[in-house]
Symmetry: C2
Subunit: 604 residues, 2 copies
């Protein structure tokens, strides 16, 4: 019983700047119009790049004049809103479209080939579904195609570009520039917040929103709201971290908030994918769904984690065993390409590229970095730093523009209001109980002022926006997308702007105080193995005495430290002692193969 | 009298991996298929990136084992050919397409929305023109659209991506990393070769090809062949320069060949655009066409040159007057963005972005570079070096792939044979006479062995390929595209591979000999002003005595040196003497405004 539909074809013709003198031949007209469109493309590109220059200059001025009550991301958003407004209301007629119905008139006048075709399919008894087509030249290497339904969408970037091009370098940079020392000391608490906290936040938001929307009969399914809860749980590291950096906030608080915001993107993306893949036939969620969701979640998350880590280690091994560090250009290029591969392989395997690229970044920083030539060390650090800065600026700018330019956002202020309440409540719901639980065993404890700050630091950013924009096929999803955009704007402007004030208000140490405090703490600890996570620790011997440092007491971290120092580092880097020294003698044939001449040189 | 066409609509459906179980609803089927296509996209991207990793490793191995008779570009091309072959003949069924005629059957079964629509328009009495449409989500920010006619094209990258994304960083890097000293000493000869030589090569190739094709009645118009002559005159710096660099070839020969290949891209692009814009109604070229072509050529070339230079200077001024160098990240980002803007502005103004970005690069290296913080100096250099390396590798790889994958190439071996003869002959036609004329006044003369080497170094690369691929609407143009691809492959493999042998054969000094020779020459000259073009010459005083150095005798360079040292450098960089010292005293209010505190600090 195959469905049969009537097909209606509409032509959308974007009014182009060319004069329609009618007599020109079709091919020359097409040629002329194509070059006009090329110019329009470059104008749009130029607009974006110019705004970004403006953003850089503003960012500099803000830093220079220590102007702190609005942050760069806020300014970037603001510029974006401005540009969006201008394009929308003074848009130079670039976006006006005409519609011709081709099929109803059997012979239609087409002076130039239309830029866009719209195919409307009407299933019998169903409502219309329409698909947009764009005039292309080729369709092999970089096509973007997603389905959209009933959207009169006029603008905008494909979310695929976000996920394949813009987000990976940002996340990789987060992993690569991680301050490993404090991060790994707080890893337990961070992972608890990331896994348990994000899940609580996701389900808390979903449930609260379900209560609100049910009361006001707004017609959302629980699945949709859970999806919203998942994507809105991805907090953004950009704004808050740059404020913290500027102010030299206490290192442990920094590690907690950075760790949460860097890692929970991954959790949010996996959660939202799992929720998306719930059986679509039934609207309710069964217990079986839930079980398979948990399993799928764990599989995807740890699969991606391992994949990224392994690819990072492979690169470390490659850079160790070859002498590619003699050619820093090739070395840096290899580094960049392999890091991107960790993303692509994960996506191809159906895993999560973001998680993979994050842990690839951590592995690269931990192992590969030590093998690189000095030049490549500085190159790769700065390269990713700059790329990620430019991408972030672009994304914030684009979020601003999208408010005015996209047509796949449906605004609902009551939904926005409920969202703001729900996300704050569900964030409080995990911050305080989790901190209390963690404080039972944790030394030093997480003080109350940290907890307030973690609650306050729940800014949303690029990842939430990109996740929400990925699928806007129904009206509800369009409302979710618009609301997410608004939440990003509100939190970045309000929370981001008030962060420095909040730090003072909560009496969190910053500036010189925090640095001194940190040094006092450092020296009061026996640091013989804390150093294992410093950047270049090739010469540190393995004579660790775990347990002296309260942060390193746990069993698993201790095991991992040992394994890392006696096997992973000697295998993957030029660090000494080499495998010849750490492994039992009967492995000698193998270990001598895996020991580099640099390792031997140090030993002798 | 408006033309009326019948419109036939064809649906091209790419066979996707999904099972057609018929009963699924359209939207879920679409969702599922979209995610499959996303995976296909990532597979293709992964293939490219993996090949590039392979290329980097191979390049390293070649460098390491001093394997010289095939060059990296050659290997890259070879890998590309291999991948293309695999995709073509073992293409995993990814590219099979089905065609349904929608209009003839009034009711057609469509189980899933098709990825591609083809609109065929048949003017009355004319032949069919068909346009391809791709299913999209949005069409604002990064659309690519060009017209293609009667092409069953299955693959490939838009040439727009080449021109907007891949080529600019390569050209900018050429300008930015220019060895200014030897370049400017040979500037007269370089410009002669670039302007007169490229024009001779263009018209020579065009005329020769016209003779050949007329004899064998192959049906090409003179305009088409002239266009071919223009685009094939763009020689490629990549391969030859990297061989020269490896071998430390004599600096003057290096400067001549690098200068030619870096600058003649710009001339070729302007020439080909001018030829493209000849009135299309008449096939012959009138004298008036020719005159307006010369005028247009000069206007576009020098307009673009000035624009790029001015934008570069603006950035220098900005970095000088603000203290942005305190924040290297912002500084580097600004640098990258403004450099890209020089390309975009030129394109928007209807000028040539390539020329603009090249001279922006030169201006940035000459002025801005001196204002940057140490960190940004190294960052920007390495950033552009790496980006341009990756882009180049990608392009060479892609040229290889395109041989098998694109359907807009029509192979004609006789045309290829004639092309190879014509381009060699027309290159000889300008190298020897021009060198003879230049040698009348030039000291040191261009020796015969240099002339042979310049002839031999006429490799073709990315620019010729991209220019040829820009318009493949007619069969003749498709032949031109295929021939250009073949010429690139032949010259890169043969000439590139034999370069090091040729250097030995022509007894051109290289390695230590060349370095010693260079130093001997240097020291035999009075170098008080040769230093003006060294990289960081802030502290060199203006006490020049032009005329002592035979390279600096000419009137115009002397004037420019003086203007540069007494006005441009003090205005745009922190170099001393400052404007307060070089300009007459009555300008004081203005000059004191334009003098930085660093300049004052040096003076006092």
């Amino acid at each position: 019983m195959k469905p049969i539909w009537t097909i209606v074809l509409l032509l959308l013709i974007v009014a182009s700047v060319t004069a329609n003198n009618g007599n020109t031949r079709l091919d020359t007209a097409a040629q002329r119009r194509a070059s006009n469109i090329h110019r329009m493309d470059t104008i749009i590109l130029l607009t974006y790049v110019s705004v970004m220059v403006l953003i850089v200059v503003t960012a500099w001025a803000f830093k220079h004049y220590r102007f702190r009550f609005i942050h760069e991301s806020g300014v970037t958003l603001f510029y974006g809103l401005l540009i969006g407004f201008v394009i929308r209301y003074f848009g130079l007629g670039l976006l006006q479209s005409q519609t011709f119905d081709v099929v109803t008139k059997n012979r239609t006048i087409v002076k130039e080939p239309p830029d866009y075709l719209m195919l409307e399919v009407k299933p019998e008894g169903g409502s219309r579904v329409s698909f947009h087509y764009e005039l292309i030249e080729g369709f092999f290497a970089d096509k973007r195609k997603k389905i959209e339904q009933q959207i009169e969408q006029k603008s905008v970037f494909s979310p695929e570009v976000f996920f394949n091009m813009l987000i990976p370098p940002i996340i990789f940079n987060a992993g690569y520039s991680l301050k490993k020392r404090h991060f790994f000391r707080n890893i337990g608490s961070i992972l608890a917040i990331v896994f348990i906290g994000t899940t609580i936040s996701c389900f808390g938001t979903g449930c609260l929103m379900f209560v609100f929307t049910s009361i006001f009969q707004m017609g959302y399914t629980f699945k949709e709201l859970l999806f919203f809860g998942a994507l809105i749980s991805a907090t953004d590291p950009v704004t808050i971290i740059s404020v913290f950096n500027d102010m030299n906030v206490e290192a442990d608080l920094f590690a907690l908030i950075f760790g949460e915001s860097a890692l929970n993107d991954a959790v949010a993306i996996v959660l939202s994918e799992v929720i998306e893949n719930f059986s679509t036939s039934s609207e309710a969620i069964t217990l079986q769904d839930f079980g398979s969701a948990i399993a799928g979640f764990a599989g995807v998350f740890f699969g991606s984690l391992m994949l990224g880590f392994v690819i990072g280690c492979m690169n470390a091994f490659l850079t160790k065993m070859t002498l590619i560090s003699e050619h820093p250009l090739l070395e840096s290029s290899l580094f960049v390409l392999i890091s991107y591969i960790s993303f692509l392989v994960a996506e191809v395997c159906g895993l999560t590229g973001i998680v993979s690229v994050l842990f690839c970044g951590i592995a690269q920083a931990h192992y590969t970095y030590n093998n690189l030539s000095n030049e490549s060390q500085s190159n790769t650090k700065h390269f990713f730093h700059m790329i990620s800065f430019i991408m972030e600026s672009f994304i914030f700018c684009y979020i601003g523009v999208s408010v005015f330019v996209t047509n796949n956002q449906r605004w609902s202020f009551s939904f926005l209001l409920f969202s703001l309440i729900s996300i704050t409540a569900s964030r409080a719901l995990f911050v305080y109980p989790l901190s209390w639980m963690l404080n039972i065993r944790r030394r030093p404890k997480i003080p109350k002022r940290y907890q307030h700050m973690i609650l306050f630091a729940g800014l949303r950013g690029a990842m939430a926006f990109a996740l929400a924009g990925r699928n806007t096929s129904t009206e509800n999803r369009q409302t979710i997308f618009a609301t997410t955009t608004a939440v990003v704007i509100v939190t970045v402007l309000v929370n981001g702007g008030l962060t420095s004030w909040m730090i003072d208000y909560l009496q969190i140490k910053h500036g010189k105080d925090a640095i001194e405090e940190g040094q006092r703490l450092e020296s009061s600890m026996s640091c013989s193995n804390g150093d294992h996570h410093a950047d270049l620790d090739e010469t540190v011997p393995v004579t660790m005495a775990p347990g002296l440092n309260p942060w390193d007491k746990a069993f698993l971290p201790r095991k991992w430290y040992h394994f890392d120092a006696s096997f992973m580092k000697p295998l993957l880097t030029h660090a000494t002692p080499s495998l010849e020294q750490t492994l039992p003698p009967f492995c000698l044939p193998l270990t001598s193969l895996l020991t580099s001449s640099r390792q031997r040189a140090v030993r002798n």
